[in-house]
């Protein structure tokens, strides 16, 4: 019940925040720009529309995830709001899970809004919906949740919100480059740099698993079971990350 309270309150707070409206306007403008660009080309307007539209949804999702992740708990620690909350009959577990689930709901709503904007643009342009449109959107959503969880993880033990946000952004970049990191370290001879790269490769989330945007935009065949495999990977990775966050948060001293 208290988890639900925190969850609902996180959603309520976010929709009162100016950042939400900025994110929304950015998303709409980006998709409209894609529409304008596609209307200037004679051929493959749908591909351009989808390419830009998916990028907009992904960027908006990741920015929202980082912002949300550092603010839902980090801001409450920084402003000492958490003191009055945790001195009430509330467990740290309920608080953390409630906040995270609220963040996941907020991310879901922003993804639905931006996906709907893209759908609307496709419809105005009289274009059909590609196969895999839904799968691409679901995977982008899961990817942004992982970044949200990382931002929350950092904000529970790093006092600077800016540093937490930067680290979450770094994880995103590493995750997106995981296949490049893998190929570099495979080609390297045994050295400390190779060992470091392999550690980075295994620890950073493999975010390429969540990227089928190009395949959908260019109407290429999707790898079989990509949605199922990526979802299982997402659940396993996020469970580990949330467990680690809970363990750190339970022991945290609020100084």
């Amino acid at each position: 019940m208290k988890i639900l309270s925190f969850s609902l309150f996180t959603v309520y707070e976010f929709f009162r925040d100016k950042v939400f409206y900025s994110v929304l306007i950015f998303s709409v403008l980006f998709v409209l720009f894609a529409y304008l660009l596609s209307s200037l080309t004679i051929v493959e307007s749908k591909k351009i529309l989808l390419d830009f539209g998916f990028s907009a949804i992904s960027i908006v999702g990741i920015i929202t995830a980082i912002f949300l992740g550092i603010s839902i708990i980090g801001k409450e620690i920084e402003k000492k709001i958490i003191y009055t909350i945790l001195s009430k009959p509330v467990s740290r577990f309920d608080y953390l899970i409630g906040k995270i689930s609220g963040g996941i709901v907020v991310l879901g709503i922003t993804h639905i809004i931006s996906s709907f904007t893209l759908l609307l643009t496709l419809w105005i342009n009289d274009e059909s919906i590609s196969n895999g449109f839904l799968s691409a959107n679901i995977l982008m959503y899961l990817e942004s949740i992982l970044i949200l969880l990382y931002a929350v993880f950092f904000s529970t033990w790093i006092s600077s919100n800016f540093l937490s946000a930067s680290l979450a952004a770094a994880i995103f970049l590493l995750g997106r480059s995981s296949s490049t990191i893998e190929s570099i370290q495979l080609r390297m001879e045994a050295s400390s740099m190779k060992s470091l790269l392999s550690v980075v490769f295994y620890l950073a989330p493999s975010l390429n698993r969540f990227n089928i945007r190009d395949l959908v935009a260019y109407e290429k065949e999707l790898p079989p079971m990509i949605l199922q495999q990526s979802t299982i990977y997402f659940f396993a990775y996020s469970m580990l990350l949330v467990t680690l966050t809970i363990l750190i948060f339970r022991k945290k001293d609020f100084i």
Binding site: F9, K80, T84, S87, K88, P89, V90, D253
Partner: protein
């Protein structure tokens, strides 16, 4: 036997590691003190004395390195124990997009099944803290004093037996401080225990039954306010202005303070005579004070190396 203590600290110690190299800094050193139920307890000390650290440990926001603390005899801070206490942190900040009503509703929801019956409504709480006419205003637009008062209101949602306030008067103007003092006194009348930290001696002197004085993490004094004041002599201090100081044995110890004169350690038996002498010599009494203040008490204890 029923426990008559609301709070107990026993040998509580805390060391912080500060800076890049983790240099150790003692925040609390074997703090042992207790707070009686249905009393107002002032937790005195300068900034950095360890007051907030003690409160945070008591509320489970930090862990101690040594010792233990109890609330109503419980060393485990269970939900039942937490449901019976209210806490206002120092310089509070709340979700500022909320109105006072929405804010209180959110905090009310945190009690869940531990919410007591017949507890005050939002209207009653807002009336108690003097915020009745702010229902449509968001916390973002509250003044510092209003923020403090809405903070006190959230501590009283579940009609707790113990109210812990960390520097509740800090940053408030004299009117705001008096209002907070009045709220604390009204809570005591309802049988509550109020434990508050402060560095303002007069706040403790005016409303507290007991107090503790903390310095650099160490407890220097712990006792009743009345007891402490009764240990002070009844000697008086007179400040007066006069054109020429007469050579009278009663006034010979007067010390010049700018354009005024000050007589200290005056025997109360002689005060009428001294005042008469000053007036007869065209002088004017500026102030007449006694030594019975906590400030003088703590200074005299320090001089005697007792603390």
């Amino acid at each position: 036997m029923q426990n008559s203590l609301a709070i107990e600290f026993k040998d509580l110690s805390k060391i912080y590691k500060v800076g890049f190299w983790g240099k150790k800094q003692t925040a609390l050193e074997e703090l042992t003190l207790s707070v009686q139920k249905n009393s107002i307890f002032g937790f005195l000390g300068a900034n950095g004395a360890g007051k907030t650290t003690s409160i945070k440990i008591l509320l489970g926001l930090q862990r101690q390195d040594k010792g233990e603390c109890k609330i109503f005899g419980n060393s485990n801070l269970t939900s039942e124990v937490k449901a019976n206490l209210g806490f206002l942190p120092e310089r509070p900040y709340f979700h500022d997009g909320l109105t006072a009503y929405a804010f209180l509703n959110f905090h009310r929801s945190l009690y869940g099944k531990h919410l007591k019956k017949n507890i005050p409504t939002n209207d009653e709480l807002l009336k108690l803290v003097g915020l009745s006419n702010t229902s449509g205003k968001t916390i973002r637009n509250f003044s510092k004093g209003m923020m403090q008062r809405i903070g006190i209101a959230q501590t009283l949602i579940n009609d707790p037996e113990l109210i812990i306030l960390d520097e509740p008067m800090s940053g408030l103007d004299p009117v705001g401080r008096k209002e907070v003092r009045d709220i604390i006194l009204s809570l005591k009348k309802k049988g509550k225990t109020i434990f508050f930290s402060t560095h303002i001696l007069s706040d403790v002197e005016n409303i507290c039954d007991h107090f503790a004085f903390l310095e650099k993490g160490k407890l220097k004094y712990h006792g009743g306010v009345k007891d402490a004041l009764s240990k002070m002599s009844a000697e008086l201090e007179v400040i007066f202005s006069i054109e020429t100081l007469p050579s009278d044995p009663l006034l010979k110890t007067a010390v010049k303070l700018g354009s005024q004169w000050m007589l200290t350690n005056v025997d109360p038996e002689l005060i009428n005579e001294i005042i008469l002498k000053i007036i007869q010599n065209n002088g004017k009494i500026i102030s007449l004070n006694n030594n019975k203040s906590l400030e003088n008490f703590l200074f005299s204890e320090k001089e005697k190396n007792k603390i």
